[in-house]
């Protein structure tokens, strides 16, 4: 009788668990053995005994103190095959999400299950592009799984930002970005679009930006806001200041003259969402696959079964079934809706 994938890849305590290898995927609670797809906090956590991840992800986890001295970390480059024990082979394929992000490929008794983690298909100059890995079961997220989510090219969104700066030359753009991935992707894309003034950064964005630079990324000149006196309000006019999203409309941003609250996020596509977050300049910028890419990817993997972890599960499940692909949603604990962006 054929092997049932659910016999060797199970959901245990709300997390994916590879039974023969006794290993969890992106567990939210401390475990002995964990495969980590990428460094975002809703996937990488501290306190694990052993960790398998890409070199970049391990570095990111160290920078964020997710890996302590007690944790034994194994770095695997993309496509480097590794015996995970119990007859399971693990290797990573790039996911195109952020620096070092990977799909975890598990092989066991001739079957292949790909846990894609978070992924995107849109071009991103700060990480390796997504790679399609044919498999028996494809585990996907569904953060932006509705037909209304069709992410525009980031270049067009950057144009929008530059247009605003030209129309309101005295304003300061306060751009809310996540410290890991979004910040660097936006800076790089702005550079490629010809923006050549220095960026001003909030302290929380520094270490990961430096880490990206260690991996060969070049963001041109950037300075720390904290290096300048508070009274120096005018310095930032007609410049872009980057900070974590929570600081955009908070006390921190009072130091800037004529601030325009901005955000780079996939949710910015929905007007009411942008308004709700009191953003005046929303750049639609997502590190996740949009509706068409989700469906295209599931098809391209030729998977006989798709498991959907989190997001708009219902819609993706329905659409894949319409395409003749068996799909089912798994409601993972800890993977809250809208955790991603």
């Amino acid at each position: 009788m054929a092997l049932d994938p659910e016999d060797w890849m199970a959901v245990r305590d709300g997390q994916f668990y590879c039974v023969p290898a006794d290993t969890y995927v992106d567990p939210m609670t401390p475990v002995d053995r964990a495969v980590i797809t990428h460094g975002h906090a809703d996937h990488a956590r501290k306190g694990h005994g052993r960790v398998w991840a890409t070199p970049e992800t391990v570095d990111i986890m160290r920078t964020r103190y997710y890996i302590s001295e007690e944790t034994e970390a194994t770095k695997l480059r993309y496509h480097e095959r590794h015996d995970l024990g119990g007859g399971v082979t693990l290797w990573f394929a790039s996911a195109g999400h952020i620096l070092g992000s990977a799909q975890a490929v598990f092989e066991y008794q001739g079957q292949r299950i790909v846990a894609a983690g978070d992924f995107k298909r849109h071009p991103d100059p700060t990480c390796e592009p997504f790679e399609v890995v044919p498999c028996d079961v494809f585990i996907t997220e569904a953060t932006f799984a509705l037909p209304v989510f069709q992410h525009p090219p980031l270049e067009a969104e950057v144009e929008k930002l530059l247009r605003t700066m030209a129309t309101l030359p005295d304003a300061t753009i306060i751009l809310g970005v996540y410290a890991l991935g979004k910040c660097q992707r936006v800076m790089k894309t702005l550079r490629l679009a010809g923006y050549d003034k220095p960026f001003y950064l909030h302290g929380a964005l520094r270490r990961l930006t430096e880490l990206y630079e260690n991996y060969g990324q070049d963001f041109g000149e950037w300075r720390m806001v904290s290096d300048f006196p508070r009274s120096d309000k005018d310095r930032y006019r007609n410049h872009i200041v980057l900070c974590p999203p929570a600081q955009v409309n908070d006390r921190w941003s009072r130091r800037f003259a004529d601030p325009i609250p901005a955000a780079a996020s996939g949710w910015m596509q929905i007007r009411a969402r942008a308004r709700q977050k009191r953003v005046e300049l929303g750049m639609v910028c997502s590190d996740h696959a949009d509706w068409n890419d989700l469906i295209r990817t599931c098809k391209e993997t030729e998977a006989g079964m798709v498991w959907i972890t989190h997001g708009r599960v219902e819609a993706l499940e329905y659409a894949l079934r319409q395409e003749g692909i068996p799909a089912k949603g798994l409601h993972l604990i800890g993977m809250e809706e809208e955790a991603g962006d």
């Binding site: 509705l146 037909p147 209304v148 409309n249 596509q269 007007r271 953003v279 005046e280 219902e314 819609a315």
Partner: protein, 539 residues
């Protein structure tokens, strides 16, 4: 200029909060965009487009044809609104007609205007196929005249006034005499032509408004030889204008509402502009006609074509307050007393079924005024209070200081229960500062709270902080930005009047509601019931 520029403009305006920035963005667009595109953009944003380019139903049926209904429903539910859902999820035609460039805004408008039904459908599909989501949104909102980008008519006029280097009042006087695409207006703004002449156009003239009286500061300065008192009637303020056999009735905001009051419009056989209060005159039990309440009037508001029976039962009537011009001569520079003489002479010649003169009230001391105000309060909602006007005041558009005062009767009070809260804007963006409250009432045989209104002022900053904290500790459920709370907190709500409103679950709407006290001490079950409101509505 391409439709894309118009769409960019809407996007920029939509997301910008500050009025000054909005003005800067809009002025920049108007300066760099040629006629007639800028005029059509002005019409779209100023809300003066007089026709739909296509119907909402067409958009809906196009989506039904090309998208899985279940996915459309999920999407629409998530987005919360149809136009935006369509803009984002529009599935391209299988073999779309590719346009090398998007047409100009005026080309889009003209094209829709000349096409028949099938043609409109084809053209809409072609445009949607060639547009980005924000452009589609702009088209759908423009086409069905549902544009709401948070730019008030006043801000629009202020933008134009600043461009022309004149006071906003100048633009206000011109505004209703001009029509899209406003070429004469822009020629004047650009310095290429004189100010447009609207003296031969039957149009709305900006009205003069009053300030609420400050009882401590203002009462002392009143005397019968400098100030005249009149009733403040509870109808709607209108302007009845006639010229060359044409008649118009305008609301205070300049909307043409003549179609709702053809009985009154038919009496206009003169050239003049009269400022007054529109009411109805139903018959009482003994068959005599007398001025009706706002609720009587309400049945005639918003009616596109009132029935003959309705007009017989509730005939329109104008109580005249002022005269702005007659036979082409403006009286704006004359004093109130001088205008009053002209008005009296004018109204004497009119049919008293349709026109009467607002009474000048007899008074000599402030105490007399207080008594008159009490009388208004006892008028069962007919009179909202008093108007006290300087007798030498000239008629200026807007709200000049110390010219006209309104002294409203004391507000009504009810104890209502807080039901939902929403965050405010600007300085209050981190506080729950908009409150929806309800009264107890019966629905399907069960005692439940029925929302009666919403208020976002009447409390101090300190109270706001306390309320915000209370709400955060009493959350029940969330509907988008709306936070439902435990039904435990009682507000004493003040309001000027209450009206029958089928749009509200409770069947009533409050006018000018505000929080007068927070009743931390009062248990929710002791709050007022709907019948208490019914009693206030009047006859």
């Amino acid at each position: 200029m391409s439709f894309a520029d118009f769409s960019d403009l809407l996007d920029d305006l939509y997301f910008t909060n500050s009025n000054l920035s909005k003005q800067a963005i809009f002025a920049d667009y108007l300066r760099r965009t040629p006629d007639p595109d800028r005029g059509w953009a002005l019409a779209a944003i100023g809300g003066t487009l007089s026709f739909d380019l296509f119907k909402r139903n067409l958009v809906k049926s196009l989506m039904e044809e090309r998208m899985d209904p279940y996915l459309f429903q999920l999407s629409r539910h998530y987005v919360g609104e149809m136009s935006e859902t369509v803009a984002l999820a529009w599935p391209q035609s299988e073999e779309p007609t590719r346009l090398n460039r998007l047409p100009d805004l005026h080309e889009v408008i003209e094209e829709f205007k000349v096409r028949d039904r099938a043609g409109i459908r084809d053209y809409l599909i072609r445009l949607l196929d060639n547009m980005s989501p924000p452009q589609r949104w702009a088209l759908l909102k423009l086409g069905t005249r549902g544009l709401r980008i948070g730019m008030s008519a006043r801000t629009v006029k202020k933008t134009l006034a600043d461009m022309a280097g004149v006071d906003v009042g100048v633009v206000e006087e011109l505004w209703h005499g001009l029509s899209p695409p406003y070429e004469s207006l822009f020629a004047w703004i650009d310095g290429q032509a004189d100010m447009p002449d609207i003296s031969n156009v039957l149009t709305y003239s900006p009205v003069m408004l009053s300030h609420p009286i400050d009882e401590d500061k203002d009462l002392g300065g009143l005397a019968p030889d400098t100030h005249a008192a009149e009733w403040k009637w509870d109808g709607i303020r209108v302007q009845v204008a006639g010229m060359g056999g044409e008649a118009r009735i305008y609301s205070r905001t300049g909307d043409d509402i003549s179609h709702s009051f053809p009985d009154l419009a038919a009496t206009v056989n003169w050239d003049a502009v009269i400022d007054g209060e529109l009411l109805v005159r139903p018959a009482n039990e003994s068959g005599e006609r007398e001025i009706g309440s706002f609720n009587d009037l309400q049945q005639r508001l918003g009616k596109k074509k009132p029935s003959a029976k309705l007009m017989r039962d509730k005939p329109a009537h104008l109580i005249a307050y002022d005269i702005i011009s007659e036979d082409g001569v403006s009286f704006r520079d004359q004093t109130l007393d001088e205008r009053r003489e002209r008005l009296t002479a004018f109204i004497e010649k009119r049919n008293p079924d349709y026109y009467s003169l607002s009474d000048r009230l007899d008074w000599s001391t402030v105490d007399d005024l207080r008594e008159l105000r009490e009388e208004a309060a006892a008028s069962e909602g007919l009179k909202e209070g008093l108007m006290i006007k300087r007798r030498d005041s000239v008629y200026v558009a807007g709200r000049p200081k110390h010219a006209w005062y309104k002294w409203k009767r004391e507000p009504f009070l009810l104890d209502a229960v807080l039901m939902y809260a929403q965050r405010g804007t600007g300085k209050r963006s981190s506080y729950y500062s908009d409150y929806t409250f309800g009264l107890w009432g019966e629905k399907n045989g069960e005692e439940t709270l029925l929302p009666i209104g919403k208020a976002y002022f009447g409390f101090t900053d300190e109270e706001l902080a306390q309320l915000d904290k209370w709400i955060r500790n009493h959350k029940v459920a969330r509907y988008g930005p709306v936070q439902e709370v435990d039904k435990e907190l009682v507000f004493e709500v003040a309001f000027d009047s209450a009206h029958v409103s089928p749009r509200h679950k409770s069947g009533y709407a409050l006018r000018f509601p505000r929080i007068s006290r927070i009743r931390w001490d009062k248990p929710a079950h002791e709050a007022d019931r709907i019948p208490a409101l019914e009693a206030l509505v009047g006859k």
